[in-house]
């Protein structure tokens, strides 16, 4: 199989990799680059566990080919926390116990980042619709919504 060379930026760093043309970005992130924070749930764009940002827009890493990342800016869950510690979104997910098994959590954190970048003060309906593509089989979602609301408040009015 002829491999393709791809140069992209992931979490602010230039990254080069070789991939097969039909490989998804999710496969390359996890299996080639070792960035296993991005999870595979369904592999068909239904569950949102593999949510990443592509040039700031929320996408499923399973719904794009790795070669399509060429020349773009990719942000994964590994790029959300700052060097001083957890991002406020991650901190609020912890404080509100907005997770149980944790498989959906990276995708939800990335999706919440995209939401709050675009809508800093979302109402509950906006939050629920925005996160409708992120499935969680543990929490029943309410704790997630509370964590997102608290994160929005914290980001708007940092302590």
């Amino acid at each position: 199989m002829q491999k393709v060379q791809v140069e992209t930026r992931i979490n602010g760093e230039t990254v080069e990799f070789l991939c097969e043309p039909q490989q998804t970005l999710l496969e390359v992130l996890r299996d080639t680059l070792g960035k296993t924070g991005t999870k595979e749930g369904c592999g068909s764009g239904d569950c949102g566990a593999c949510s990443i940002l592509l040039d700031g827009r929320l996408v499923c890493a399973c719904l794009m080919l790795a070669v399509e990342a060429s020349g773009h800016n990719v942000t994964t869950i590994e790029g959300i926390a700052g060097k001083d510690g957890l991002h406020p979104i991650q901190q609020k997910f912890l404080e509100h116990a907005a997770l149980q098994c944790g498989i959906c959590t990276p995708g939800l954190v990335v999706a919440t980042k995209a939401l709050l970048d675009k809508h800093p003060n979302p109402d509950e309906e906006t939050i629920r619709y925005w996160l409708a593509g992120n499935l969680c089989r543990c929490t029943g979602y309410d704790k997630i919504i509370r964590a997102v609301q608290d994160a929005a408040a914290t980001l708007a009015y940092p302590a």
């Binding site: 393709v4 039909q22 764009g45 499923c60 719904l63 794009m64 070669v67 593509g133």
Partner: protein, 292 residues
């Protein structure tokens, strides 16, 4: 040609030449826009190796041009990009609502109107909205560019009118005047993230007295393809788009439908719900056209 390959041509000429070369060599060329349908199909349904020809690097398929008379929407522009354009949302609220119903926020980050149309699912949400707006497909091929209305482009379940070697560049839409407006709604059993059981797109023009002078009604997910329903439009033209006219248009939609029963709904149910959707969507388009 038994291996996968990926090419991202930079011009229409290069794209058409690539399609020709791959096909001449006995290979399979697969055009891709956002990839949200294609990648799932390649993983789950048909894993046959092919040459993926990415259309996202062409100036034409990325063009969004809002002119004085008409608007051109490039085939590969994502729903997210289109819905970030406030002017476009204000001009074609029904079409943009339809694009905003496709999948999740994540899917909308990649999925395009052009891809939704070419995929030609009977339940594709943007197709009735495009037909209601009288949208025209701009197609490039070896013999130059040709155009056809969207209702002629979709020819069957997951079948479009593109000939081998042709690509969809984008869609031309006539801009609405002050008393013309569109709307689209679909019915799904939950509030988000599902496939239409039935969908209806309507575009209406009213005169100064509020009488309907032109209408286009399109229904989705109740026949092998989305349909233009002229009998429903006839029931609205010349009326104030009141309850009686909307009921008649709804009945015309039911009569034009030929739905199947599947796990999302029975044929009987679809025949009923399409009339309800027609009434609701017609009232929304009317109120928008009245500036209400």
């Amino acid at each position: 040609m038994s291996a996968f390959a990926y090419v991202a041509p930079k011009s229409v000429e290069e794209t058409l030449a690539t399609l020709k070369t791959v096909q001449a060599a006995g290979g399979r060329a697969q055009v891709m826009a956002g990839g949200t349908d294609l990648i799932v199909q390649m993983r789950a349904v048909d894993r046959t190796p092919r040459t993926i020809v990415d259309l996202k690097f062409l100036a034409e398929t990325n063009r969004l041009e809002i002119g004085a008379q008409e608007t051109f929407i490039g085939a590969t522009l994502s729903s997210a990009v289109l819905n970030e354009n406030a002017q476009l949302v204000q001009m074609f609220p029904g079409l943009l609502e339809a694009a905003d119903l496709i999948g999740s926020t994540q899917v909308q980050g990649r999925a395009s109107i052009g891809g939704n149309l070419c995929n030609a699912s009977p339940a594709g949400d943007t197709i009735p909205a495009l037909i209601a707006n009288g949208a025209v497909c701009v197609i490039a091929g070896a013999n130059g560019t040709r155009e056809m209305p969207v209702e002629a482009f979709v020819v069957g379940v997951q079948k479009n009118a593109l000939q081998p070697g042709e690509i969809l560049l984008g869609l031309r839409l006539k801009n609405h005047d002050a008393r013309t407006a569109d709307a689209y709604q679909r019915f799904i059993p939950r509030t988000e993230m599902d496939i239409a059981v039935a969908g209806c797109g309507i575009c209406l023009t009213l005169d100064a007295s509020g009488t309907c002078t032109a209408a286009r009604v399109s229904i989705g997910a109740v026949a092998p393809t989305a349909l233009l329903v002229p009998t429903a439009a006839d029931a609205l033209v010349g009326t104030k788009v009141d309850d009686a006219a909307l009921a008649a248009a709804g009945a015309a939609c039911t009569a034009a439908s030929s739905p199947i029963s599947d796990r999302r709904g029975t044929a009987d149910y679809r025949r009923k719900i399409i009339a309800v959707l027609c009434r609701r969507v017609g009232a929304i388009a009317r109120d928008r056209a009245l500036g209400a």
